[in-house]
Symmetry: C2
Subunit: 422 residues, 2 copies
Amino acid sequence: MSVAVDRDVRDLGEFRFDCGESVPSLAVAYEAYGEFDGDNAILVCHALTGSQNVATHRSGRGAADDADTIDAPHDPAGQAGAWWNDIVGPGKAVDTTEYYVVCANVPGSCYGTSGPASEAPDGEPWGTDFPPVTVGDWTRAQRRLLDDLGVGRLHAVVGGSVGGMNALDWAQRYPDDVRRVVPVAAAARLDPQCLGIDAVARRAITSDPNWNGGDYYGDEQDRPDQGLGLARQLGHVMYLSKASMADKFGRRSAVRGGSAGGELFPADPGAAFFPYRDVESYLDYQAESFVDRFDANSYLYLTRAMDDYDLAEGYESDAAALGAFEGEALLLSFTGDWHFTTEQSEALAEAFRESEVPVAHHVVDSDHGHDAFLVEPERVGPPLRDFLSEGVEGKAVSDTAEDDEDVGGSEYAPVHNSLFSG
Amino acid sequence: MSVAVDRDVRDLGEFRFDCGESVPSLAVAYEAYGEFDGDNAILVCHALTGSQNVATHRSGRGAADDADTIDAPHDPAGQAGAWWNDIVGPGKAVDTTEYYVVCANVPGSCYGTSGPASEAPDGEPWGTDFPPVTVGDWTRAQRRLLDDLGVGRLHAVVGGSVGGMNALDWAQRYPDDVRRVVPVAAAARLDPQCLGIDAVARRAITSDPNWNGGDYYGDEQDRPDQGLGLARQLGHVMYLSKASMADKFGRRSAVRGGSAGGELFPADPGAAFFPYRDVESYLDYQAESFVDRFDANSYLYLTRAMDDYDLAEGYESDAAALGAFEGEALLLSFTGDWHFTTEQSEALAEAFRESEVPVAHHVVDSDHGHDAFLVEPERVGPPLRDFLSEGVEGKAVSDTAEDDEDVGGSEYAPVHNSLFSG
């Protein structure tokens, strides 16, 4: 199947951020797949360290044109590249032969959209002089990009993790512009446990002497790789679960060589007597590959945006924030996810119900933790596909409210001995 | 009530560690409360960063003698001091008018017992040349200290957290020497999630340039306070729970002043737009007070000992490891604890049952996370008191096996959406 692909960076001109500061020129890198027919646009919102490169579409203009044309300081490599390839594409759940699918790298990130690593008007990288960004800034930048692309009302906004917060922000901020909204593994706000871990992660970055107050972009300067690597390791702990870590690693020693600490962290003589475990090897590998693809200041900026997001801000409640939205909502959550819990999605479902929005909360039984929304496409795809075409009445779409026995039951509700309680 | 108090440091002479290395002279700092009658000794094992200073006993020899005589590089201040004051003391659950209660600072720590910060034979601090330590080393050092004090068989060994592993090691290593064993909020081994977080914490320390390969004790040298502070913050995230963090902090902004990052971590210009939250303020405060009382190398050493501990090592199973133990066991666990879970204590109870040891697993319903064993004395005290005097038949002692309905039920068993599953 031939699907048109548009990969580009748009200059949206002057952009004023929620903080009150402006940049004279906001560049936004995006990818768009398929043909816009006036009514079939879907915006996909990426997660914290994701990119606009949702899927590995070959260019419709032939393989020779398939070169990546993004003027990005880092290419969307590794886990940022084709991050939802099993979900978005020709014939897939978000079918690019049917829908016009747009994904844009968020302001503050580092895959071609303006952020701390971008060039400021003075020709130097912005560093921490780049204005602080919010999820609301992301939404407003996406709105302007879509205007630029000639897209008015969206058929749907779909996003995972903080991308799901981005999707929620669309339903609150531009309620008339969205027919269907799909926050996947998301929440109305982050809980204090995750706020705490994010705060530690940021301190790991700013404590790295190479961070240097955010000024480390010079050719002669070392990057704060150790701090950023530590931050990423904490992220991965949040993305997995006790069950998935037990399955993946157990307490096994790593076969892969290397001293405890891998390549990135200093060797520790006292460690020599003890095994270098699989779980350490995994975390070290994740840290090492992440620092090659992501900017440390962007990590500070984007985690702050995530931590700051609160659907109810400026309203009396989540339900009030969603009061003007007249579309339908599908919430997808995963039982093993402690970063964005099933309980949080259920609270969100209640808010939609209270504001009389047709909503379905589809709970996926999974041990894969937060990563489930990326690694369980066969369970995410069917409800998403059917919701996009049929709404909450879609065949594969289930809802927690369908069976009152389940609501408050052990399947997903808060249990006392759980981290999810409270 | 007058209770004799003995605070001292014993030189146990040459000590060979599990790793094969020896030190010519192992100093062990201890406190002992009450009078030994030949049959009433209880060993209390402290947690990771605890000390021998279990409780605030005044000296039986009069207030004038009450000065702390411990020759410790750091006094057991802050949370290391009088850490179980509500449990141990005259008339308390571990009644020092009835029992002779001994607690010793473990090898590798920094409260007077030999460790990386102690002086090596060459007159310089050991640093990372101090031999790696294991929980087994702790037990063997305690055995030698007790020999020195004239104590043979113990009435009981009681310990919380990794101190509970220490207590388990007693039951396995010296089965004839212990009548009753009480692992509190403990486990037969740490799970991979906690292993991962500990590994990140150690990397935070070794990445701090002031750590300097473990050589930072010089008067002119800065200490690796930022790395140790980050490690401690990760510890506190593990000690709390989602519920307790929601209760304590919510998403509130801190009243206490200070830029994001507190005093210890560099200011971040990009943070100015966002609130400094209660949860951050708490974590920064914990980091700041911890670095004043604990040694970074000790933190590396003791977390490695904890991570390495495995009751079944050298045996076919946990039950086999406990096969020679002929005493009784009380396991205390807390429903909100995800560092050492109720499920892990239940697995341990099964191992005791399989090896035909009279055992009770007393589950305390608590939202306080792992900290519960320290902050819920009114719920820990009664079963502990009754077990010490009556064994598993003690009145306030409950057991999960008493009600089969509960075993595997929602009260504490693994639930699918829990971090504790798997």
